[in-house]
């Protein structure tokens, strides 16, 4: 079952620009068209974590804004849970966290969640219990009665996450949930996303922190300059082949080190340690044997697969070329 479907979604922003040409002293008004999103067709299956990845300005936020009804698409259409955008019944089952959220700073944390709960049509004991649970979950129980004015960036992100889960949503859309958080906060958000998946919810999130996305996504879509350049599961996108082997050795004589360096594709020397990078598995094995044969010590040996980041850079470079 498809929870999110888009068909040829395009968005063009029109900016009024007053162009001043000094050459002939011309002043003219013209419109600048910015194609933020070009012909995006994709879908998100039920129960999966889908990552929308891409550099800044790739169109991730635009896509999410269109899906949430904040912006309207110039062309194309989209469906959430099989219904057209803007359907209130669907909105009752969606949670949304915008990028760099900022909320009413005159409200207390608790009041804020209460207000948003009321907008979902919740009330009374059920709402109160849900708010307590969520504050517990995002670790803000101590700040429930503090005004949002005094919240730090991380706390804002957490209360934002809490408001997106108020209605017990089936689909959660998170726009850059990890931006502005410290490593610990990022891990916590990651854990929450995994927990949401465990509970059977669908999560769609955008990110440019690729290592985080790599750890949790079932499938990713990669956007670049408004175009979807690839979509698929992590295993489909990243070749499973080990493509690089790193060997760290020590305790070798200088002439033996030279010989090993000659055999490796890349090498890096620091005090008492030598790191050798091989692209061929056989050569790497030989390197290990030679080290042991010469009385040296193997400190570590790491076969590496391609990371999302490397894949990404490869693709973006290929696109630019």
């Amino acid at each position: 079952m498809k929870v999110v479907e888009t068909f040829g979604l395009s968005k063009t922003y029109v900016q009024d620009v007053i162009g001043v040409e000094y050459g002939r002293l011309k002043i003219r008004l013209r419109n600048r068209h910015i194609e933020a999103l070009k012909d995006l067709t994709m879908s998100v299956e039920e129960g999966e974590i889908f990552g929308l990845l891409g550099p800044n300005g790739a169109g991730k936020t635009t896509t999410i804004k269109i899906l949430m009804g904040i912006h309207f698409a110039t062309k194309g259409r989209a469906q959430l849970m099989g219904r057209p955008l803007g359907d209130l019944e669907v909105k009752k089952r969606i949670g949304f966290l915008p990028e760099n959220p900022y909320f009413y700073d005159y409200l207390k944390g608790w009041e804020f969640l209460n207000y948003y709960g009321q907008l979902y049509g919740m009330s009374g004991r059920r709402l109160r219990k849900r708010i307590e649970e969520l504050l517990e979950m995002v670790g803000l129980s101590h700040a429930a009665n503090l005004p949002l004015k005094g919240y730090s960036k991380g706390m804002n992100q957490r209360i934002g996450l809490a408001q997106s889960l108020l209605n017990d949503p089936r689909l959660v859309m998170l726009d850059e949930p990890q931006s502005g958080l410290d490593p610990l906060g990022r891990k916590e958000v990651r854990d929450i996303i995994l927990k949401l998946k465990e509970e059977g919810r669908t999560v769609l999130f955008s990110s440019h922190i690729l290592s985080d996305a790599e750890m949790i996504c079932d499938r990713v879509g990669i956007l670049f300059k408004g175009q979807l350049i690839n979509i698929g599961s992590m295993t489909e996108l990243l070749s499973a082949k080990k493509y690089q082997f790193e060997l760290v050795v020590s305790g070798l004589k200088p002439e033996k080190e030279e010989a090993l360096k000659a055999g490796a594709a890349k090498s890096l020397e620091s005090d008492h340690q030598l790191m050798l990078v091989y692209t061929d598995e056989e050569k790497a094995q030989k390197g290990i044997q030679e080290t042991i044969g010469a009385g040296g010590t193997v400190l570590s040996f790491t076969p590496r697969t391609e990371t999302l980041e490397e894949y990404f850079i490869r693709h973006v470079r290929g696109e630019a070329a």
Binding site: M1, H71, L88, E89, R93, Y104, Y116, D168
Partner: protein, 424 residues
């Protein structure tokens, strides 16, 4: 899967996102019908006065106040039907306010306004100015009641406007600027509900402020009435001894007049007592009507403020709103201008009818009439002067209806602009 739902009793939905959308469950009709009814209500309210076929009367009710239009006999039943529809739809709107999310948004808007410090500054200055009416009235030797009444009512109107401008303008803009609108739009709330929530919240704030000012004004008025009447009586009816001289020294302006009147004879003294002091003696019903009319006026201004702030920046919207208020207060002067132009042209040309006039004059007149039609006619709601001069005030039914219709129209325009807007 099933044991997971059992372990989490607070999850009423089934775990599948799509499970609840059975083909038979057409639960969206309610979401569609409420806005439809609301719109229908607003539109009916708008065209309600037009049914009596006299657009000029709507543009300037006060001008034609003496010749009340008599509906043709066949139309009485028709009017009753329309009235019924109007009231029903008003009830629907109320229900929508309570059942729908508008009420919550309005309450939150009210909370935002109440936690804004500017509101208290406005209130503080309003109360100070009303207190000052006790001093200001001494500048005049007669008509103290008029001065206190005029100052008080003008204060309520002016500071109500200030609240609408300084508190109201930023309310919609803040949500857009700080992007809180993103999360509101993602909730099951229509955009028009958001805008109406803002409007009603702002209106509630303004009415609370107006209420406080009114209570304060009435208290000041009653206090002034008592003390002044006492002073006048003291001078008029006390023997010309040391006591009488002391009153003279204490209230020089008032007492001098009273003293002169006394010197002119008993009957003059009696009528002077009526003019000098507070003839009505206490807060009158007319004052309450004047406050109610101010409330209607502020309703129009609030709608205008919401309209401007739905697409403009706060400083520009504040300027526009104040301008609309000023133009609205001068509305009937615009029509008077048009009539003057016609009269002058007729005299100059010796023509008998408007049709015989030149195109230039016609364009001038049409433009003025168009302006008067577009700009809210706040003149027709302004009964302060009638109250001050103790005239009988006739609140024309059209004026009240006009206020509601104009508000509805402006709000509809705001909703239209807001409906398809991309929030940046």
């Amino acid at each position: 899967m099933t044991d997971k739902t059992a372990s989490q009793p607070n999850m009423p939905h089934s775990l599948s996102a799509l499970a609840e959308f059975e083909p038979g469950s057409q639960s969206t009709w309610r979401d569609k019908i409420w806005p439809l009814l609301l719109w229908l209500g607003l539109i009916t309210l708008l065209f309600r006065p037009l049914l009596w076929n006299d657009i000029r009367e709507i543009a300037s009710p006060a001008l034609g106040a003496d010749k009340k239009p008599v509906p043709p006999p066949g139309q009485a039943g028709w009017n009753l039907a329309v009235d019924l529809v109007c009231y029903l739809l008003c009830c629907f709107t109320l229900v929508q306010l309570i059942v729908g999310r508008i009420g919550f948004i309005a309450l939150n808007t009210f909370r935002e306004a109440v936690r804004n410090r500017i509101l208290y500054f406005i209130l503080f200055f309003a109360l100070i100015l009303m207190l000052a009416s006790g001093i200001v009235k001494e500048l005049s030797i007669v008509a103290h009641e008029r001065i206190v009444t005029n100052l008080g009512l003008s204060c309520i109107s002016f500071f109500g406007l200030m609240t609408a401008v300084f508190v109201g303008i930023s309310l919609v803009y803040n949500e857009l600027d700080k992007k809180t609108i993103y999360t509101i739009v993602s909730k099951p709330v229509h955009r028009f509900q958001f805008l109406l929530g803002k409007f009603f919240g702002l209106l509630l704030t303004i009415y609370v402020i107006v209420g406080i000012m009114t209570v304060f004004f009435f208290a000041v008025f009653n206090y002034q009435a008592q003390t002044t009447d006492q002073a006048v009586e003291n001078v008029l009816y006390s023997p010309p001894d040391a006591q009488g001289v002391r009153h003279l020294v204490e209230r020089p302006g008032l007492a001098k007049t009273a003293f002169l009147a006394k010197a002119m004879g008993k009957s003059v003294a009696q009528s002077a007592g009526n003019v000098l002091g507070f003839p009505s003696g206490a807060v009158s019903q007319n004052m309450l009507i004047a406050v109610a009319m101010i409330c209607l006026e502020l309703m129009i201004i609030t709608a205008v403020a919401v309209l401007f702030s739905s697409f403009s920046t706060p400083s520009l919207s504040a300027m526009f709103t104040v301008m609309v208020f000023a133009a609205g207060r001068l509305n009937e002067d615009i029509l008077r201008f048009a009539n003057r132009v016609i009269a002058d042209a007729l005299k100059e040309r010796g023509a008998a009818t408007f049709a015989a006039l030149s195109l230039g004059v016609k364009i001038k007149v049409w433009f003025a009439q168009l302006c008067a039609l577009i700009v809210p006619n706040l003149d027709s709601l302004n009964v302060t002067s009638s109250v001050v001069y103790s005239d009988t005030i006739s609140v024309w039914r059209y004026s009240v209806l006009y206020a509601f219709c104009y508000t509805a129209m402006v709000l509809m325009l705001a909703i239209l602009i807001f409906r398809k807007r991309n929030f940046k």
